[in-house]
């Protein structure tokens, strides 16, 4: 039995926006894998809910005319993994989605919910941060676009205003074109776990596969919100493919991160894993891009 006072079901995006205006204190529920847990814990006891679960229009992964990948935020983790578009252009996102929770969670949890809840450990968030995703947000005043880097405001806080709804995650063409990514989830278990560190690395190599043209690295749980390792990225740009690049990334990422000590893990331990996952993630991404060590 869940303690909520009302459930409004949106039939379209505009209806959802209207419901949010009519019920300003209501909580938006998509897959429910976070909201229902909070209800059960009593944290949202008595809340009004607006369900967007039936908005199939937000469930597709397509390609925009400008080449950007348009990921509907209601796409479940398992559909993200199986999406032919993502498998062709950005398989790392589906792979990252496939590390979340267990099969049941991946069937209900959504990629949009994964970032809208604002948690640093979200398995798909670091990859979207690493691909400079752009978020399409719809509200009463229409549609606005926001870089994912400006979306995270702090733990559990994102730049959604009252009455606003995430309606697409866009991956610009320059982010995924010729780009190969790799995600490492470091957790205490091999399934049904939350990341101790999530590391998403992607690279664009030169045509001869000898040089790193561009590398992007993003982390979950290395700071209060998903974050980029820009010092390390800068240090890698132009580096030849080889062990030297691995040494550089393992060293330089530590200048970018700010993990904290909690009962879940010490900062020193996290730094060890941050460095090691960068090394392994970069190696795997380069190998996927055709680079040879």
């Amino acid at each position: 039995m869940y303690d909520f006072s009302a459930l409004y079901e949106a039939t379209s995006v505009s209806h959802a926006v209207q419901l949010m205006q009519e019920h300003p204190d209501a909580v938006l529920i998509a897959g429910g894998s976070d909201v229902l847990i909070k209800l059960r814990e009593g944290k949202l006891a008595g809340a009004e809910l607006i369900s967007i679960y039936k908005l199939d229009e937000l469930r597709e992964v397509t390609i925009d005319p400008d080449g950007a990948l348009r990921i509907g935020p209601m796409t479940s983790f398992s559909h993200a993994t199986k999406s032919p578009v993502l498998q062709q252009y950005m398989p790392v996102l589906g792979e990252a989605a496939d590390t979340a929770g267990g099969p049941q969670l991946r069937n209900v949890g959504t990629v949009g919910g994964n970032i809208c809840n604002g948690v640093t450990s979200a398995d798909t968030a670091s990859t979207e941060v690493a691909y400079d995703a752009v978020l399409e947000i719809t509200g009463a005043n229409g549609v606005r676009k926001l870089s994912i880097h400006d979306f995270y405001k702090g733990p559990g806080k994102v730049a959604l205003e009252k009455g606003e709804l995430l309606t697409a995650i866009l991956i610009p063409k320059e982010s995924y074109e010729n780009c190969y990514g790799y995600y490492i989830k470091y957790a205490m278990r091999n399934a049904m776990d939350i990341a101790t560190i999530g590391c998403s690395v992607n690279v664009v190599l030169s045509a001869d596969k000898q040089t790193i043209q561009r590398a992007r690295i993003a982390y979950g749980v290395a700071g209060p919100v998903p974050m980029r390792a820009r010092t390390a990225e800068a240090a890698l740009a132009g580096q030849p493919v080889g062990e030297g690049a691995i040494e550089i990334v393992g060293r330089e990422v530590l200048n970018d991160v700010n993990p904290r000590t909690s009962w879940r893990a010490s900062a020193d331990f996290r730094k060890q894993i941050i460095s090691e996952t960068a090394r392994r993630g970069l190696r795997a991404a380069i190998e996927r891009a055709g680079g040879v060590f």
């Binding site: 039995m1 869940y2 303690d3 009593g42 006891a45 267990g102 470091y186 205490m188 278990r189 091999n190 399934a191 049904m192 776990d193 939350i194 101790t196 009962w263 879940r264 893990a265 010490s266 020193d268 331990f269 060890q272 894993i273 090691e276």
Partner: protein, 761 residues
């Protein structure tokens, strides 16, 4: 004959189709719902509870606080009652507590029309406390001046026992001995059975009828009687199928409180269903025990003298208390036998943590981790192969325990070791792996153990059993030993079939124990179900069969002693001539106009023996040093649990125990905030119970030495599979990296610290 065959579980179809009914399935939907208000401090006195807001919530029926309950302390441990007051369990529990002793203690309940109302009511209670200092560490709690939990137990010491074999101080004077010393820590873990504890109660026929997810219905009836101040016969306790227990439900958990709530609402049906979060903290946990082991060995490896100190963290209430630590301490002198002396001191100490009780293998997983780690460390210090060191010092064939009279009849340990090491290719790999360098390394490790099957002569071992035959020759079995998911009903049915001489499918085990109906038995604990029930089934089944044969004599004129029955056919022993089927005989007997008779037999069987069960575990691991991760590659347990009653069920039992051992060795521990005593990870996300993806293929093998004391040749297998895994994993990591870790679970966090200390990172 079906004993020894992998027949299908008698409950398989009902369980896989969802027909099997568990406690919650049986509760009428009209039940009022009880929710508990738990303390939010680790130690203190409840000053006041403002219930007014809660009482005003629509749907809240009643609020009961710690100020309302009777002052009638009761024990909770699922031990058989002792009529000797000196051997009775410590009665330190109240239904609700003014003096709260851990974060999560029960201070009040709200009874509501539904779950939402009851939960809203709990959130609306305003509890004020006078806080007291608290202590979480077992040895700190023993210090003078430490916060005192129960005033009658000075320095929080619930109990201390010790023994000395030979003269330790003299023995260690022998010249040339090598001293090896270590401290070993084990964690607080929880059973994590699938079905959380749940019970419901209502008054009927002048009694309180309580249906509960318990392992021990007859014992819980007694405890409810004590807690509620009722004659024990005024409590009727019913146990349906349960979703596991592993010892947590070998305790009275919330049955007394549920019964009390029922009384307070005029006998109406009330249901108390606890959440997983509550289960972790406010049921029972496994004792965290800290060990100090000193070994004095000759350079050739022979142990001359060993010393064990064991500090067991009891948590806030006695529950099973010192018995758990004492069992491990007793095992110390038997698994390895010192040439001259063994000295042991074991303490069980109250702290402001969840109460520790029984958990699968009752102290032996803890002490096995310490002993088997210390032996591996000793081997390293002595420069001797650790397997040879074990074989040189372990319990010899013919060893007899002076207390239990258990005998090591066979060379079980060596036989088990032989199978385990062959599967892992242990000796070759152990030597090869010790020389590795590089970031990814492999290792092999092992551990041995012995385990007591039942509890004789510490406590009563008696089993009551009733068999009744139907018109078609089929038989109902009612017995006090309980099915808790382990497959007991199936093993019992197999033993009944062979003893009585009827086909397996003619045996109906009445799985639901109802204390008003089922003969008295103390339930599922130790690893005693198959062993103890075996005596009762053999005894009562033989009586039933003799009645049938006597009737055959009446029907055929042939003397009963010349007849026998097998597979449902009565035959003449000498000629093997088949005389009739049991169907024919039973139908004739029940409807005879001349001598109508329903065959039945019942009675209590005394079991005054016990049996050593033996085994070992081997593992192979791969250690990723920069990632501080361990991957299990291979794992095998080998057991001598006597003759296997049902090989497939035995294998499943071993797999489950190995899985628990993986968690114990690598992931599971309940954590508490040292500043507040608050539990940090009392949920299945943050408590790292391992998943299927964390398991290697599990291999179970057996050595089947027929146990001479048992009519079916069987002995313990329920708990033993959990014993060797954790130390075997720890020893494999030592083999791979040269790094010893003296605490379990060996998590990446601990490996990171240890690898740094040892210069690997």
């Amino acid at each position: 004959m079906v004993v020894g065959k992998s027949v299908k579980r008698v409950d398989a179809i009902d369980k896989v189709t969802g027909r099997a009914r568990y406690t919650d399935d049986l509760a009428d939907k009209s039940a009022l719902i009880v929710k508990i208000c738990h303390s939010t401090i680790a130690h203190g006195m409840v000053k006041s509870i403002d219930t007014s807001a809660a009482e005003n919530i629509p749907g809240v029926v009643k609020v009961i606080t710690c100020f309302d309950v009777p002052n009638r302390p009761f024990p909770t441990a699922g031990h058989p009652w002792s009529t000797d007051p000196h051997h009775q369990d410590v009665a330190d529990r109240m239904l609700l507590n003014r003096h709260v002793r851990y974060y999560g203690d029960e201070v009040a309940v709200v009874i509501g029309e539904d779950e939402v109302a009851a939960e809203q009511g709990v959130r609306a209670l305003k509890v004020e406390y006078d806080e007291l200092p608290f202590v979480l560490d077992v040895q700190e709690a023993m210090q003078d001046g430490a916060p005192q939990l129960h005033e009658e137990f000075k320095n929080n010491i619930l109990d201390h026992t010790g023994y000395e074999v030979g003269n330790y101080e003299e023995a260690i004077q022998e010249p040339g001995l090598v001293k090896i010393e270590g401290w070993y820590n084990t964690p607080i873990v929880q059973h994590c059975h699938i079905e959380n504890h749940i019970c419901f109660a209502e008054e009927q026929f002048g009694k309180i009828v309580i249906v509960s997810s318990t392992q021990i219905p007859h014992i819980v009836r007694r405890i409810c009687g004590q807690a509620l101040g009722l004659p024990w016969g005024k409590v009727r306790l019913i146990k349906p199928y349960i979703g596991g227990g592993f010892g947590n439900k070998q305790d009275a958990l919330y049955e007394p409180l549920c019964g009390y709530c029922c009384q307070q609402v005029g006998g109406r049906l009330v249901k108390l269903d606890v959440s997983r979060e509550e289960t972790f903290v406010s049921n029972r946990v496994r004792h965290a025990i800290r060990y100090h082991i000193i070994t004095y060995a000759r350079p050739d490896g022979r142990f001359v003298a060993r010393r064990l100190e064991a500090f067991s963290n009891q948590g806030a209430y006695a529950s099973h208390g010192h018995g758990v630590n004492a069992k491990g301490a007793g095992a110390f002198k038997q698994i390895y036998v010192d040439d001259k002396a063994t000295k042991v001191d074991a303490y069980t100490v109250y702290t402001n943590l969840p109460a520790a009780g029984a958990m699968r293998a009752y102290g032996i997983p803890q002490v096995s981790f310490a002993i088997e780690s210390s032996v591996e460390d000793a081997a390293k210090a002595l420069g001797i192969d650790s397997l040879k060191l074990r074989q040189m010092n372990m319990m010899p064939v013919g060893y007899t325990d002076s207390f239990s009279k258990n005998v090591n009849y066979f060379d079980s340990l060596n036989q088990c070791i032989a199978k385990g090491k062959a599967y892992i290719d242990y000796e070759r790999k152990h030597e090869e792996y010790a020389k590795q360098t590089g970031p990814i390394r492999r290792g092999v490790g092992m551990a041995i153990f012995w385990y007591n099957t039942a509890v004789w002569p510490i406590a009563l071992e008696a089993s009551s059993c009733r068999m009744v035959m139907n018109q078609d020759g089929s038989v109902q079995l009612e017995i006090g030993e309980t099915e808790i998911g382990q497959g007991a009903d199936t093993a019992f049915a197999q033993m009944v079939a062979d003893t009585v001489g009827v086909p397996f499918d003619k045996v109906h085990v009445l799985t639901t124990q109802d204390t008003d109906v089922t003969p008295f038995g103390t339930g599922a604990y130790a690893s005693r179900q198959t062993y103890v029930a075996g005596f009762a089934i053999h005894n009562i089944g033989t009586q039933l069969k003799n009645k049938v044969l006597k009737y055959a004599e009446y029907m055929t004129g042939k003397p009963a002693e010349t007849l026998d029955m097998a597979e449902g056919v009565v035959f003449e022993k000498e000629t093997q001539e088949q005389l009739m089927t049991i169907d024919e005989l039973a139908t004739s007997a029940l409807y005879s106009l001349d001598q109508a008779e329903q065959f039945s037999a019942e009675g209590t069987t005394q079991i005054k023996t016990n049996a050593y069960s033996f085994g070992c575990g081997f593992v192979e691991v791969e250690v990723d040093i920069p990632m501080c991760k361990v991957k299990l590659l291979k794992m095998i347990n080998v057991h001598d649990c006597g003759r296997l009653i049902n090989p497939q069920l035995a294998e499943a039992q071993v797999h489950g125990g190995m899985s628990m051992a993986i968690g114990y060795g690598m992931g599971e521990q309940l954590l508490f905030d040292p500043k507040t005593g608050k539990p940090l990870n009392n949920n299945l996300l943050d408590y790292k119970l391992c998943t299927m993806m964390d398991h290697p293929d599990l291999k179970a093998e057996f050595v089947e030495n027929f146990e001479p004391t048992s009519p079916f040749g069987t002995k313990a297998l329920g708990e033993p599979p959990t014993c060797p895994g954790a130390p075997a994993i720890r020893n494999a990591i030592l083999n791979a990296t040269g790094v010893s870790v003296n605490q379990t679970p060996v998590t990446p966090h601990i490996l990171f610290e240890r690898f740094k200390e040892e210069g690997l990172l």
